[in-house]
Amino acid sequence: MDLLTELGILLTAAGAGVLGSLVGLGGGVFVVPILSVFFGIPLKTAIAASGVSVVVNSAAGASVYLRDGMPNVRLALLMLVPTTVGSIVGGLLAVHSSPNALRIVYAVSLFGMIIVMARRGARPSPPPAEHDPLGLTASYYDRAIDGGTEVCYTPRRLGPGMSISAGAGMISGMLGIGGGAVQVPAMNAIMQVPVKAATATSTFMVGPTVVASALIYYLNDLIDPAVAIPAVLGMMLGAQSGARLARRARGVLLVRILMVILFYLATTVFLQALGINVPGAR
Protein backbone atom coordinates (compact mmCIF):
# COMPACT_ATOMS: atom_id res chain seq x y z
CA MET A 1 0.00 0.00 0.00
CA ASP A 2 1.46 3.39 -0.97
CA LEU A 3 1.57 6.53 1.14
CA LEU A 4 -1.05 8.20 -1.06
CA THR A 5 -3.59 5.46 -0.29
CA GLU A 6 -2.77 5.72 3.43
CA LEU A 7 -3.31 9.48 3.23
CA GLY A 8 -6.61 8.81 1.43
CA ILE A 9 -7.68 6.48 4.26
CA LEU A 10 -6.78 9.17 6.83
CA LEU A 11 -8.84 11.80 4.99
CA THR A 12 -11.76 9.37 4.48
CA ALA A 13 -11.71 8.42 8.16
CA ALA A 14 -11.60 12.10 9.13
CA GLY A 15 -14.61 12.78 6.88
CA ALA A 16 -16.42 9.74 8.29
CA GLY A 17 -15.62 10.94 11.82
CA VAL A 18 -17.12 14.36 11.06
CA LEU A 19 -20.27 12.86 9.49
CA GLY A 20 -20.66 10.25 12.22
CA SER A 21 -20.37 12.82 15.00
CA LEU A 22 -22.84 15.14 13.30
CA VAL A 23 -25.59 12.51 13.38
CA GLY A 24 -24.44 10.67 16.52
CA LEU A 25 -23.77 7.35 14.77
CA GLY A 26 -19.97 7.25 15.09
CA GLY A 27 -17.67 7.10 12.07
CA GLY A 28 -17.69 3.31 11.59
CA VAL A 29 -20.93 3.19 9.63
CA PHE A 30 -19.37 5.40 6.95
CA VAL A 31 -15.72 4.35 7.02
CA VAL A 32 -16.18 0.57 6.66
CA PRO A 33 -18.23 0.63 3.41
CA ILE A 34 -16.13 3.45 1.89
CA LEU A 35 -12.83 1.65 2.57
CA SER A 36 -14.24 -1.60 1.30
CA VAL A 37 -16.07 -0.30 -1.78
CA PHE A 38 -13.81 2.52 -3.03
CA PHE A 39 -10.34 1.61 -1.68
CA GLY A 40 -10.69 -2.11 -2.36
CA ILE A 41 -9.65 -2.92 1.22
CA PRO A 42 -10.90 -6.36 2.37
CA LEU A 43 -14.13 -5.94 4.36
CA LYS A 44 -12.77 -7.75 7.43
CA THR A 45 -9.66 -5.51 7.48
CA ALA A 46 -11.90 -2.42 7.25
CA ILE A 47 -14.12 -3.75 10.07
CA ALA A 48 -11.08 -4.40 12.30
CA ALA A 49 -9.62 -0.92 11.62
CA SER A 50 -12.98 0.68 12.38
CA GLY A 51 -13.26 -1.37 15.60
CA VAL A 52 -9.98 0.04 16.98
CA SER A 53 -10.99 3.58 15.95
CA VAL A 54 -14.33 3.17 17.72
CA VAL A 55 -12.55 2.23 20.98
CA VAL A 56 -10.41 5.41 20.77
CA ASN A 57 -13.46 7.58 20.10
CA SER A 58 -15.42 5.95 22.90
CA ALA A 59 -12.63 6.46 25.45
CA ALA A 60 -12.15 10.10 24.41
CA GLY A 61 -15.90 10.82 24.38
CA ALA A 62 -16.64 8.94 27.61
CA SER A 63 -13.94 10.86 29.50
CA VAL A 64 -15.64 14.15 28.56
CA TYR A 65 -19.12 12.85 29.46
CA LEU A 66 -17.86 11.40 32.76
CA ARG A 67 -16.47 14.77 33.83
CA ASP A 68 -19.95 16.22 33.25
CA GLY A 69 -21.60 13.37 35.18
CA MET A 70 -23.76 12.33 32.21
CA PRO A 71 -23.37 8.54 31.88
CA ASN A 72 -25.40 6.27 34.14
CA VAL A 73 -22.46 4.04 35.01
CA ARG A 74 -24.52 1.55 37.02
CA LEU A 75 -26.92 1.07 34.13
CA ALA A 76 -23.93 0.72 31.77
CA LEU A 77 -22.38 -2.01 33.95
CA LEU A 78 -25.61 -4.04 33.94
CA MET A 79 -26.17 -3.62 30.20
CA LEU A 80 -22.54 -4.42 29.40
CA VAL A 81 -23.01 -8.03 30.53
CA PRO A 82 -25.28 -9.06 27.59
CA THR A 83 -23.66 -6.52 25.24
CA THR A 84 -20.12 -7.91 25.59
CA VAL A 85 -21.43 -11.48 25.18
CA GLY A 86 -23.18 -10.34 21.98
CA SER A 87 -20.00 -8.61 20.84
CA ILE A 88 -17.92 -11.78 21.22
CA VAL A 89 -20.47 -13.72 19.15
CA GLY A 90 -20.41 -10.91 16.55
CA GLY A 91 -16.58 -10.82 16.51
CA LEU A 92 -16.41 -14.58 15.91
CA LEU A 93 -19.04 -14.32 13.17
CA ALA A 94 -16.98 -11.53 11.55
CA VAL A 95 -13.87 -13.71 11.56
CA HIS A 96 -15.55 -16.87 10.28
CA SER A 97 -18.24 -15.50 7.91
CA SER A 98 -17.75 -15.11 4.19
CA PRO A 99 -17.21 -11.50 3.02
CA ASN A 100 -20.46 -11.61 1.02
CA ALA A 101 -22.49 -12.70 4.06
CA LEU A 102 -20.92 -9.81 6.01
CA ARG A 103 -21.76 -7.41 3.15
CA ILE A 104 -25.42 -8.45 3.27
CA VAL A 105 -25.57 -8.03 7.07
CA TYR A 106 -23.82 -4.66 6.73
CA ALA A 107 -26.23 -3.43 4.05
CA VAL A 108 -29.31 -4.60 6.01
CA SER A 109 -27.96 -2.92 9.19
CA LEU A 110 -27.35 0.33 7.29
CA PHE A 111 -30.91 0.26 5.92
CA GLY A 112 -32.14 -0.32 9.50
CA MET A 113 -30.11 2.68 10.73
CA ILE A 114 -31.63 4.85 7.99
CA ILE A 115 -35.11 3.91 9.26
CA VAL A 116 -34.05 4.65 12.87
CA MET A 117 -32.65 8.05 11.77
CA ALA A 118 -35.87 8.87 9.91
CA ARG A 119 -38.06 8.06 12.91
CA ARG A 120 -35.78 9.43 15.59
CA GLY A 121 -37.24 11.87 18.08
CA ALA A 122 -36.50 12.31 21.76
CA ARG A 123 -39.19 10.96 24.08
CA PRO A 124 -39.69 12.68 27.43
CA SER A 125 -38.78 10.73 30.57
CA PRO A 126 -41.24 10.28 33.44
CA PRO A 127 -40.27 11.37 36.97
CA PRO A 128 -37.95 9.04 38.93
CA ALA A 129 -39.52 5.90 40.40
CA GLU A 130 -39.99 5.57 44.15
CA HIS A 131 -39.09 1.89 44.08
CA ASP A 132 -35.58 1.43 42.71
CA PRO A 133 -33.99 -1.69 44.25
CA LEU A 134 -30.95 -1.61 41.92
CA GLY A 135 -30.17 2.04 42.65
CA LEU A 136 -30.30 2.97 38.96
CA THR A 137 -31.91 6.37 39.52
CA ALA A 138 -29.48 9.03 38.35
CA SER A 139 -29.39 12.72 37.59
CA TYR A 140 -27.40 15.11 35.43
CA TYR A 141 -27.27 18.84 34.86
CA ASP A 142 -28.77 19.90 31.52
CA ARG A 143 -27.67 23.40 30.50
CA ALA A 144 -30.10 23.47 27.56
CA ILE A 145 -33.31 23.25 29.64
CA ASP A 146 -34.56 26.58 31.06
CA GLY A 147 -31.02 27.96 31.28
CA GLY A 148 -29.87 24.92 33.27
CA THR A 149 -31.71 22.34 35.34
CA GLU A 150 -31.12 19.03 37.12
CA VAL A 151 -32.74 16.12 35.23
CA CYS A 152 -33.55 13.08 37.37
CA TYR A 153 -34.77 9.76 35.94
CA THR A 154 -35.07 6.04 36.65
CA PRO A 155 -34.34 3.55 33.84
CA ARG A 156 -37.29 1.17 33.42
CA ARG A 157 -37.90 -2.18 31.66
CA LEU A 158 -34.38 -3.47 32.20
CA GLY A 159 -35.13 -6.94 30.73
CA PRO A 160 -36.17 -5.83 27.22
CA GLY A 161 -33.44 -3.15 27.25
CA MET A 162 -30.76 -5.74 28.03
CA SER A 163 -32.05 -8.10 25.35
CA ILE A 164 -31.82 -5.38 22.69
CA SER A 165 -28.39 -4.51 24.06
CA ALA A 166 -27.18 -8.07 23.37
CA GLY A 167 -28.32 -7.64 19.74
CA ALA A 168 -26.57 -4.26 19.53
CA GLY A 169 -23.38 -5.89 20.85
CA MET A 170 -23.57 -8.58 18.19
CA ILE A 171 -24.02 -6.04 15.38
CA SER A 172 -21.18 -3.99 16.86
CA GLY A 173 -18.80 -6.96 17.02
CA MET A 174 -19.75 -8.22 13.59
CA LEU A 175 -19.48 -4.89 11.78
CA GLY A 176 -16.84 -2.97 13.77
CA ILE A 177 -19.23 -0.13 14.66
CA GLY A 178 -20.14 1.38 18.00
CA GLY A 179 -23.75 0.24 18.24
CA GLY A 180 -25.01 3.59 19.50
CA ALA A 181 -27.48 3.69 16.61
CA VAL A 182 -29.32 0.80 18.29
CA GLN A 183 -28.53 1.48 21.96
CA VAL A 184 -29.55 5.13 22.19
CA PRO A 185 -33.06 4.82 20.67
CA ALA A 186 -33.64 1.61 22.70
CA MET A 187 -32.60 3.25 25.98
CA ASN A 188 -34.73 6.29 25.23
CA ALA A 189 -37.86 4.62 23.85
CA ILE A 190 -37.95 1.42 25.92
CA MET A 191 -36.07 2.22 29.12
CA GLN A 192 -37.22 5.87 29.27
CA VAL A 193 -33.72 7.23 29.75
CA PRO A 194 -33.36 10.88 28.56
CA VAL A 195 -31.55 11.09 25.19
CA LYS A 196 -28.52 12.95 26.56
CA ALA A 197 -27.98 10.41 29.34
CA ALA A 198 -28.61 7.55 26.88
CA THR A 199 -26.02 8.95 24.44
CA ALA A 200 -23.42 9.41 27.20
CA THR A 201 -24.13 5.94 28.67
CA SER A 202 -23.92 4.36 25.21
CA THR A 203 -20.60 6.14 24.48
CA PHE A 204 -19.21 4.78 27.75
CA MET A 205 -20.44 1.26 26.89
CA VAL A 206 -19.03 1.21 23.35
CA GLY A 207 -15.40 0.85 24.54
CA PRO A 208 -15.78 -2.39 26.53
CA THR A 209 -18.27 -3.71 23.92
CA VAL A 210 -15.94 -3.29 20.96
CA VAL A 211 -12.83 -4.38 22.91
CA ALA A 212 -14.33 -7.88 23.21
CA SER A 213 -14.43 -8.22 19.41
CA ALA A 214 -11.31 -6.09 18.74
CA LEU A 215 -9.21 -8.56 20.75
CA ILE A 216 -10.60 -11.32 18.54
CA TYR A 217 -9.63 -9.30 15.43
CA TYR A 218 -6.11 -8.72 16.84
CA LEU A 219 -5.48 -12.36 17.69
CA ASN A 220 -6.76 -13.42 14.24
CA ASP A 221 -4.33 -11.01 12.50
CA LEU A 222 -7.15 -8.94 11.01
CA ILE A 223 -5.66 -5.59 12.11
CA ASP A 224 -3.55 -4.19 9.27
CA PRO A 225 -1.62 -1.21 10.74
CA ALA A 226 -1.35 0.43 7.30
CA VAL A 227 -5.17 0.72 7.33
CA ALA A 228 -5.84 0.95 11.06
CA ILE A 229 -3.33 3.72 11.94
CA PRO A 230 -4.65 6.31 9.42
CA ALA A 231 -8.21 5.22 10.27
CA VAL A 232 -7.65 5.74 14.02
CA LEU A 233 -5.92 9.11 13.59
CA GLY A 234 -8.39 10.33 10.97
CA MET A 235 -11.51 9.29 12.85
CA MET A 236 -10.25 10.85 16.08
CA LEU A 237 -9.53 14.19 14.36
CA GLY A 238 -12.81 14.05 12.44
CA ALA A 239 -14.94 13.17 15.46
CA GLN A 240 -13.60 16.14 17.39
CA SER A 241 -14.25 18.55 14.51
CA GLY A 242 -17.70 17.00 13.99
CA ALA A 243 -18.64 17.49 17.63
CA ARG A 244 -17.81 21.21 17.29
CA LEU A 245 -19.64 21.53 13.94
CA ALA A 246 -22.72 19.79 15.36
CA ARG A 247 -23.45 22.80 17.56
CA ARG A 248 -23.89 25.00 14.47
CA ALA A 249 -25.20 22.54 11.88
CA ARG A 250 -28.85 22.55 10.75
CA GLY A 251 -30.03 19.22 12.14
CA VAL A 252 -32.90 18.13 9.89
CA LEU A 253 -31.27 18.95 6.54
CA LEU A 254 -28.01 17.36 7.61
CA VAL A 255 -29.67 14.15 8.73
CA ARG A 256 -31.49 13.92 5.37
CA ILE A 257 -28.24 14.38 3.41
CA LEU A 258 -26.50 11.74 5.50
CA MET A 259 -29.45 9.37 5.06
CA VAL A 260 -28.98 9.66 1.28
CA ILE A 261 -25.23 8.94 1.63
CA LEU A 262 -25.95 5.92 3.86
CA PHE A 263 -28.60 4.68 1.40
CA TYR A 264 -26.10 4.90 -1.47
CA LEU A 265 -23.42 3.04 0.56
CA ALA A 266 -25.89 0.38 1.74
CA THR A 267 -27.15 -0.21 -1.82
CA THR A 268 -23.59 -0.39 -3.21
CA VAL A 269 -22.49 -2.90 -0.54
CA PHE A 270 -25.65 -4.96 -1.14
CA LEU A 271 -25.12 -5.03 -4.92
CA GLN A 272 -21.48 -6.05 -4.40
CA ALA A 273 -22.67 -8.94 -2.21
CA LEU A 274 -24.87 -10.09 -5.11
CA GLY A 275 -21.89 -9.90 -7.46
CA ILE A 276 -23.24 -6.88 -9.37
CA ASN A 277 -20.55 -4.45 -10.49
CA VAL A 278 -21.04 -0.87 -9.32
CA PRO A 279 -19.29 1.92 -11.28
CA GLY A 280 -16.39 3.37 -9.27
CA ALA A 281 -16.35 0.47 -6.81
CA ARG A 282 -13.40 -1.93 -6.53
Binding site: L3, V55, V56, A59, L66, L77, I88, V211, Y218, N220
Partner: protein, 120 residues
Protein backbone atom coordinates in the same frame (compact mmCIF):
# COMPACT_ATOMS: atom_id res chain seq x y z
CA UNK B 1 -34.91 7.88 45.76
CA UNK B 2 -32.34 10.08 44.00
CA UNK B 3 -28.63 9.46 44.16
CA UNK B 4 -25.69 9.78 41.81
CA UNK B 5 -24.85 6.56 39.99
CA UNK B 6 -21.28 6.50 41.30
CA UNK B 7 -19.20 8.71 43.60
CA UNK B 8 -17.95 11.89 41.84
CA UNK B 9 -14.28 11.22 42.72
CA UNK B 10 -14.49 7.75 41.14
CA UNK B 11 -16.15 9.25 38.05
CA UNK B 12 -13.39 11.89 37.67
CA UNK B 13 -10.62 9.34 38.26
CA UNK B 14 -12.17 7.14 35.61
CA UNK B 15 -12.39 10.08 33.16
CA UNK B 16 -8.72 11.02 33.52
CA UNK B 17 -7.60 7.38 33.48
CA UNK B 18 -9.40 6.68 30.19
CA UNK B 19 -7.89 9.79 28.62
CA UNK B 20 -4.34 9.03 29.81
CA UNK B 21 -4.35 5.36 28.73
CA UNK B 22 -5.73 6.28 25.28
CA UNK B 23 -3.14 9.03 24.87
CA UNK B 24 -0.32 6.63 25.78
CA UNK B 25 -1.64 4.22 23.12
CA UNK B 26 -1.77 7.01 20.54
CA UNK B 27 1.82 8.03 21.38
CA UNK B 28 3.00 4.43 20.77
CA UNK B 29 1.10 4.40 17.44
CA UNK B 30 2.70 7.68 16.33
CA UNK B 31 6.22 6.67 17.47
CA UNK B 32 5.83 3.29 15.72
CA UNK B 33 4.64 5.03 12.56
CA UNK B 34 7.62 7.42 12.55
CA UNK B 35 10.11 4.58 13.21
CA UNK B 36 8.54 2.53 10.40
CA UNK B 37 8.60 5.45 7.94
CA UNK B 38 12.28 6.11 8.77
CA UNK B 39 13.29 2.43 8.58
CA UNK B 40 11.31 1.13 5.59
CA UNK B 41 9.48 4.17 4.20
CA UNK B 42 6.00 2.68 4.76
CA UNK B 43 3.64 1.58 7.53
CA UNK B 44 3.82 -1.98 8.93
CA UNK B 45 1.37 -4.47 7.33
CA UNK B 46 0.83 -6.82 10.29
CA UNK B 47 0.61 -6.75 14.07
CA UNK B 48 2.94 -8.76 16.28
CA UNK B 49 1.61 -11.71 18.33
CA UNK B 50 1.64 -10.86 22.08
CA UNK B 51 4.13 -13.69 22.79
CA UNK B 52 6.77 -12.08 20.52
CA UNK B 53 6.13 -8.54 21.68
CA UNK B 54 8.71 -8.11 24.52
CA UNK B 55 11.63 -9.40 22.46
CA UNK B 56 10.78 -7.30 19.40
CA UNK B 57 10.09 -4.19 21.49
CA UNK B 58 13.61 -4.42 22.93
CA UNK B 59 14.89 -4.43 19.35
CA UNK B 60 12.85 -1.23 18.67
CA UNK B 61 10.92 -3.06 15.95
CA UNK B 62 8.31 -0.69 14.40
CA UNK B 63 5.48 -3.28 14.03
CA UNK B 64 6.01 -4.19 17.71
CA UNK B 65 5.75 -0.53 18.83
CA UNK B 66 2.58 -0.11 16.74
CA UNK B 67 1.13 -3.36 18.16
CA UNK B 68 1.85 -2.13 21.69
CA UNK B 69 -0.08 1.03 20.74
CA UNK B 70 -3.11 -0.99 19.60
CA UNK B 71 -3.04 -3.19 22.70
CA UNK B 72 -2.72 -0.14 24.99
CA UNK B 73 -5.73 1.48 23.29
CA UNK B 74 -7.69 -1.76 23.74
CA UNK B 75 -6.68 -1.76 27.41
CA UNK B 76 -8.34 1.64 28.08
CA UNK B 77 -11.86 0.22 28.59
CA UNK B 78 -10.38 -2.70 30.57
CA UNK B 79 -8.67 -0.18 32.85
CA UNK B 80 -12.06 1.57 33.21
CA UNK B 81 -13.74 -1.65 34.32
CA UNK B 82 -10.97 -2.54 36.80
CA UNK B 83 -11.14 0.99 38.20
CA UNK B 84 -14.93 0.73 38.56
CA UNK B 85 -14.79 -2.70 40.20
CA UNK B 86 -12.21 -1.45 42.71
CA UNK B 87 -14.09 1.82 43.35
CA UNK B 88 -17.41 0.02 43.88
CA UNK B 89 -15.75 -2.42 46.29
CA UNK B 90 -14.33 0.50 48.29
CA UNK B 91 -17.83 1.99 48.47
CA UNK B 92 -19.10 -1.43 49.63
CA UNK B 93 -21.27 -1.57 46.52
CA UNK B 94 -20.73 -5.30 46.05
CA UNK B 95 -23.48 -5.78 43.44
CA UNK B 96 -21.94 -3.38 40.92
CA UNK B 97 -18.39 -4.49 41.77
CA UNK B 98 -19.55 -8.00 40.82
CA UNK B 99 -21.16 -6.66 37.61
CA UNK B 100 -17.86 -4.98 36.62
CA UNK B 101 -16.00 -8.19 37.51
CA UNK B 102 -18.39 -10.22 35.37
CA UNK B 103 -17.84 -7.95 32.35
CA UNK B 104 -14.06 -8.24 32.86
CA UNK B 105 -14.39 -12.03 33.00
CA UNK B 106 -16.34 -11.97 29.72
CA UNK B 107 -13.54 -9.89 28.13
CA UNK B 108 -10.92 -12.39 29.35
CA UNK B 109 -13.13 -15.12 27.92
CA UNK B 110 -13.10 -13.36 24.54
CA UNK B 111 -9.28 -13.66 24.50
CA UNK B 112 -9.47 -17.36 25.41
CA UNK B 113 -12.11 -17.98 22.72
CA UNK B 114 -10.03 -16.06 20.15
CA UNK B 115 -6.94 -18.14 21.00
CA UNK B 116 -8.87 -21.42 20.86
CA UNK B 117 -10.67 -20.65 17.58
CA UNK B 118 -7.66 -18.92 15.97
CA UNK B 119 -7.14 -20.23 12.47
CA UNK B 120 -10.15 -22.56 12.82
Amino acid sequence: MTRPAIAPELRLRLASGLRIVTLIGMVFLIVGTVVSLVQVGDLPRATVPPSELPERLLALDAPAIVSLGFLTILLAPVYGLISLAYGCLRQRDRFYAAAAGLVLTILVLSVVIALVTRGA
